[in-house]
């Protein structure tokens, strides 16, 4: 399973867990318009840390991801 599909899957899982109606996910969709609020994103980051063993935010020095594509890229780059 690619990092991209894992991230998408866990996003859907968190959305379901928190009763959120997720917008159709695309790379250009702003993360905060995806239907996930900041609590959901915090949970998402924690679950991804657990599943992928990476927390790109721990080392993050720069800006926070704005779009879903930025978010996925963070994980892809961290795992690379």
């Amino acid at each position: 399973m690619t990092i991209r599909t894992t991230v998408m899957e866990v996003m859907a899982e968190v959305g379901k867990m928190h009763d959120r109606q997720l917008a159709p996910l695309s790379d250009s969709l702003p993360l905060l318009d995806s239907g996930l609020d900041s609590l959901c994103i915090a949970v998402l980051v924690a679950l991804l840390d657990d599943r992928l063993g990476v927390d790109p935010f721990a080392a993050a020095s720069g800006s926070l991801p704005v779009t879903v594509g930025d978010f996925i890229a963070l994980y892809e780059n961290a795992a690379a």
């Binding site: 900041s38 609590l39 721990a58």
Partner: protein
Amino acid sequence: MPLPEQRSFRDLTVAAGAAPARFAADVTRRVGFAELVAGGTLEPPLERFRGQSVLIWCERQLAAARILLEIDGIAARLVLCPSDFSPAHLPAVAAEAEVTAIVTDSATMAASAAGDLPVSVVDTVGRYAPSADCDRSFATEWILFTSGTSDRPKLVVHTLASLTGPIEGRAPASDVVWSTFYDIRRYGGLQILLRAFVGGASMVFSDANEPVAAFLERAGPCGVTHISGTPSHWRRALMSNAIDHIAPRYIRLSGEVADQAILDALATAFPSAAIAHAFASTEAGLAFDVDDGRAGFPAALIGQAGGKAELRIVDGSLRIRSPRNAARYLGDRGALKDAHGFVDTKDMLELRDGRYYFVGRREGVINVGGQKVHPEEVEAVINRVPAVRMARVRAQRSPITGALVVADIVLQPAAANESFDRVKAEIVAACRAALPPYKVPAMLRAVSSLDIAASGKLVRRHA
């Protein structure tokens, strides 16, 4: 103002009678009360302790109890070191309590206590004359350690009068056999020692080095009728395969929040026992007992004047004023009471349907993106899930919200073979039904056990 007649621990114990049925037992010995009051463990003359500040540092609780009997009313101050007392803290504690003598039952402890202070080594056998005619009229200070973290403990000043406040006026009951999971050098355990000795009953001591199953197997044949511990002690006991060895008629919980799950589990395990949970702390003393089998306490207790303990809520936390309050901290460790003489317990309360519930400690709050979560309120929900024996909720750092709520779960032995994913789903569903989303654990981990500190409380590490 003339002082009321001062009666020592020994006076009160002797006055409760030495019925042949009365005994005190620990992991190695069983002693009748006649022997207990007729023999001394400290080499005479006891006059050498007059006016002294004596540090009692014993491995065996029975040894410590005998020393209390022998020199309360003679010494100026008795410092009660619990079993987990760290020698590293000895110099600071000795300085703060102005210790002038050390009494121990252990050669190892005597060696590590070596310094300029005189050390007396005792065992639990009363080989000396009892020094019954000693003047024991001094209002000795009893110094207890706070049960907090691994930091240097605060030293809390009680007297026998403040400690026995909760049991005043009770008729002696020689058919009662008390026991407790607590160390008697802790407030919760000391209450039980006093109930047994001053209350005319018998006492079975626990031991820090004894596994819980072995303790229950020993307590059962001793005929224990009354037994106390923290909710964590009780969860651990219910998880042992030896719980059937005891058949108490009275069960007491204190020291931590007693949630409905543990009260129900005990009621199921011991259908004919009376079950009470008490609110007490080392600083505030015993405030009240709740014996209706329900978590929390009736709202009417707050603000009642003229009761044994006056209760107030200030900034969400419970404050208590009563003659059972400790007097002060030793040394420069801050004020123990507020300007009105109330002790702030720092235990946060919430009112629901005419009843107050403890939601957690002020300093244990998890901050999830500015929203406050008390670990205990989440644990109470998780503990209601049938497959769960105990839970610890803690903070996990989050780059997004600062912190997140996560939980470590110990399953019931019967649920050990269940799929953890199924139990997880059940826990999440229970939390989502009872709590706002930010309080629902983001992650759940199965663990085989959770650490319980020597104080009997679940080990928490505050972020």
